[in-house]
């Protein structure tokens, strides 16, 4: 078969397919509504002037497709004209952001199954953003799990190593229903489940529970508290006399770093960039200025005018993906990109337990929406056609990050993937 013949065959098949589709579409359009059917017929009539037969069928198919869409709309309008505008708005919102988890207010009574009171309380605090921030949430979760473990008694016929994980799963799913799980919590829970399943079945129950609580304490100490101290010392050394340090929103680690550097006697000033709706930087501002550090506070739109004054940018992170991309408070990516553009080094402070094995390429595949009522923000007066979108996080590409300060050293974002191996965490 020559090339021309093959091409001819392909085109014939394609035309046949399009024709079949057009027929089906027309039938549907007629079913949907009279005026839409008419539109389709008009469209098809217009294309009849086209000389080439193939083009004609294609155009007919396209017209049929639009007709189909119209038909769908017609059905919706027919179904309920009263809520018509609202339905359209909802549909639009759903189409793009339906996968972003938007918190529904959780009622304490909504807890399904055997949920521990500590977890119910924690869930409410998560949902209301009383406990916020990857480290704080992880520490609070592990603390609540310690209570759960201590109050747990193994039902007859099973062992702790086998049953406790399922008992914990119910608690975890309650927490997740309050607010999507943080990567830090995920990592810590994975480690905890590993410890549970590895606990000795011959151990008396109370001893096994104590051992698990000890492991939780060790995890918090080694991976969070000590790690923060090391990061604090390492990163504080990167601040020199006369530096202007720029930071975005509030990260507990960055806060510690700045206080440490100030305690070391380094003379520097801080620019705190903040953004609605959470305005977390205000808290950082009050803590730093109470320590005596000269601070400037501004909102994200003003960043462009001050970025040239900054000598270094410090930001925290929610998690770091294995390609080196940093998932952090929405706005971080803007700050990092602008800083990179102005050749200001961007330093991310992040413990290794925040490393995630996933690769994320943008902040649309996974994100979280901030519930406005949690921050006391009055609803925007825009009527039903307005939809407010407040993603909580964004993704900073590795190219706009200079260095990541971890407890194992200062490393470039590209080398993140070699760290878990060095830590011996090959198996999760």
């Amino acid at each position: 078969m020559t090339k021309a013949e093959r091409r001819e065959l392909q085109e014939r098949q394609r035309a046949a397919k399009a024709a079949a589709k057009a027929e089906g579409g027309d039938a549907k359009a007629k079913g949907g509504g009279k005026k839409d059917g008419g539109a389709a017929a008009g469209g098809a009539g217009g294309t009849r002037k086209e000389p080439a037969a193939r083009k004609e069928t294609q155009a007919a198919a396209a017209a049929a497709a639009t007709a189909r869409k119209d038909a769908g709309g017609g059905v919706a309008v027919g179904a309920g004209r009263v809520s018509g505008v609202h339905a359209v708005a909802e549909a639009r919102g759903l189409r793009i952001f339906s996968h972003f988890a938007l918190q529904r207010p959780v009622a304490a009574a909504a807890a399904k199954g055997d949920v521990h009171p500590a977890i119910v309380r924690l869930g409410l605090m998560f949902a209301s953003f009383r406990i916020c921030g990857a480290n704080a949430r992880c520490i609070a979760t592990l603390g609540a799990f310690k209570e759960v473990i201590q109050d747990y008694s193994t039902p007859p016929g099973t062992t702790l190593a086998r049953h406790l994980t399922t008992h914990l799963s119910a608690q975890i799913s309650h927490l997740v229903s309050a607010r999507p799980m943080a990567v830090t919590m995920g990592n810590a829970i994975r480690q905890l489940k590993l410890d549970i399943s590895g606990s000795d079945i011959d151990l008396p129950e109370q001893d096994a529970k104590d051992a698990l609580c000890q492991k939780i304490d060790d995890y918090v100490r080694d991976r969070i508290i000590i790690a923060d101290q090391v990061i604090q010392e390492t990163a504080a050394k990167k601040i020199q006399n006369g530096d202007v340090v720029l930071t975005y929103a509030r990260s507990s680690v960055v806060e510690k770093v700045l206080l440490q550097a100030w305690e070391d006697g380094t003379q520097f000033s801080v620019v705190i960039v903040d953004s609605r709706p959470m305005l977390e930087g205000k808290r950082l501002l009050s803590i730093l200025s109470r320590a005596g550090i000269p601070c400037t506070y501004l909102l994200l739109p003003a960043l462009g005018s001050v970025i040239a004054e900054a000598s270094i940018v410090f930001v925290g992170a929610h998690s770091i993906h294995s390609n080196g991309a940093v998932y952090a408070r929405a706005g971080t990516a803007l700050v990092a990109m602008l800083a990179k553009r102005h050749s200001v080094p961007v330093v991310v402070c992040c413990e290794t337990y925040k490393f995630s094995d996933n690769v994320q390429l943008d902040s649309f595949t996974k994100n979280e929406l901030a519930p406005l009522q949690a921050f006391g923000a009055q609803a925007l007066q825009g009527g039903p056609s307005l939809e407010v979108l407040n993603p909580l996080y964004d993704l900073t590409p590795p190219a706009s990050i200079t260095a990541v300060v971890t407890e194992v050293g200062v490393i470039p974002p590209d080398s993140i993937s070699s760290i878990p191996l060095a830590l011996g965490r090959t198996v999760f």
Partner: protein, 389 residues
């Protein structure tokens, strides 16, 4: 925590087959080292032992570079030290490394060596029955490594050869032993010609030119300010290194960074040659984040009190570091140093200039080392894998 790469790098002494033996003057005599005259205070380093002098002595050998000299100085320290436990020994080593680092004008290279050796000592399996035996073993391993490391340049030269095409025009900077070896090795098989920068103020480029010309390689010295002019004519840039750092970047004689920037602008490959003992756990965020950066470097002559200082003085805070802020409009002070007849810089003016600079990883095409040909990311992954345990 096991660091898998370290033991492989400082290899056990069994394979002695084809090594360069260092000259006897370089390796300190172990027997002499166990000096019994310092028993008054056995826990500290004997005062009579001057680690810096030992380092200098090792460095005087033209084949020994700073990291190796530091390793040799530390082995000498071990054999002299009376430490009775591993903890004491590591502490003595850390103190020795710090003493060295404080006294050396440019501590980057020796820090890399100290870091490598101390990491090796801490990870060394101590199964020896007696601690003195362990110390002897450590000394032996350290010296063995230093002697083996003299082979590394030949390995690097061999690896570079594959990237040098016949009739290549190469641009290099200042004087580097590993680059010299690579060029001389390439000259045996291929026709190459070399442009070398003068590398003021030390003028080491002239030394490169003399040695290459003596070997029969066509070589021309170019001004440091003519790098952009010559870049179009060269096929690639080859520089040595003082240290290769964790970001994947490079610390080398000042001028390397501008060479890399220009090479990038002209899309010419920029290759760095570095033996693996120059890999250093350091992450400079900028030129001024290097350990060699002193407040005096790039400082302005102090006329009257500048506006900046006045402002900060009134607020009771010291003025910012002059090197880290952009120059403000300071009223022009009368030049205190008269121009000499030859219009060359005075030693005071030179002292305000850096010896080394930092080249960002995105400007470097490849790093040739004895552990392989690495991309800058590869270098940082190697370093992270080795030390971040």
């Amino acid at each position: 925590m096991a660091v898998p790469t370290s033991p492989a790098r400082i290899r056990p002494v069994e394979d002695k087959s084809a090594q360069l033996r260092p000259s006897p003057s370089v390796i300190p005599d172990v027997a002499r080292g166990a000096a019994p005259s310092f028993l008054e205070d056995p826990r500290t380093i004997p005062h009579a032992f001057d680690i810096y002098a030992t380092y200098q002595r090792a460095l005087s050998d033209p084949k020994i570079s700073a990291p190796l000299a530091a390793i040799l100085a530390l082995t000498e320290l071990i054999s002299r030290s009376e430490a009775g436990t591993m903890f004491e020994l590591v502490k003595a080593l850390n103190d020795g490394a710090e003493a060295l680092s404080k006294r050396a004008p440019n501590p980057i290279g020796l820090n890399a060596g100290c870091e490598l050796f101390i990491a090796f000592v801490t990870l060394f399996p101590h199964e020896s029955a007696s601690f003195p035996d362990l110390k002897k073993e450590l000394v032996r391993q350290g010296q063995e490594y230093a002697s083996q490391a003299l082979n590394f340049r030949a390995k690097v030269a061999e690896q570079t050869l594959g990237f040098i095409k016949d009739d290549s025009v190469i641009l290099t900077h200042s004087y580097s032993r590993v680059v010299m070896q690579a060029l001389l090795h390439a000259h045996k098989r291929k026709r190459i010609s070399v442009y070398v920068t003068e590398a003021r103020p030390r003028g080491l480029g002239l030394k490169t030119c003399d040695e290459l010309t003596a070997a029969g390689i066509p070589c021309t010295v170019v001004l440091d300010s003519a790098i952009a002019y010559v870049m179009d004519k060269v096929d690639f840039v080859l520089v040595g290194s003082e240290a290769v750092v964790e970001s994947g970047g490079l610390i080398n004689a000042v001028g390397s960074n501008q060479m890399a920037v220009i090479a990038k602008a002209e899309n010419k490959p920029f290759y760095a040659l570095a033996e693996s003992f120059k890999f250093h756990r350091l992450f400079p965020l900028s030129q001024y984040d290097l350990p060699t950066h002193k407040p005096g470097i790039l400082s302005f002559p102090q006329p009257a009190l500048s506006l900046e200082a006045k402002l900060s003085a009134s607020q009771g805070r010291p003025g910012p570091d002059p090197s880290s802020i952009k120059p403000k409009m300071i009223p022009a002070a009368p030049q205190s140093l008269p121009y000499t007849e030859q219009r060359t810089m005075t030693p005071e003016q030179i002292a305000k200039n850096p010896d080394v600079d930092y080249t960002r990883p995105d400007l470097i095409s490849l790093v040739f080392s004895d552990v392989g040909i690495l991309t800058p990311e590869g270098v940082s992954q190697y370093l992270v894998g080795m030390f971040a345990g």
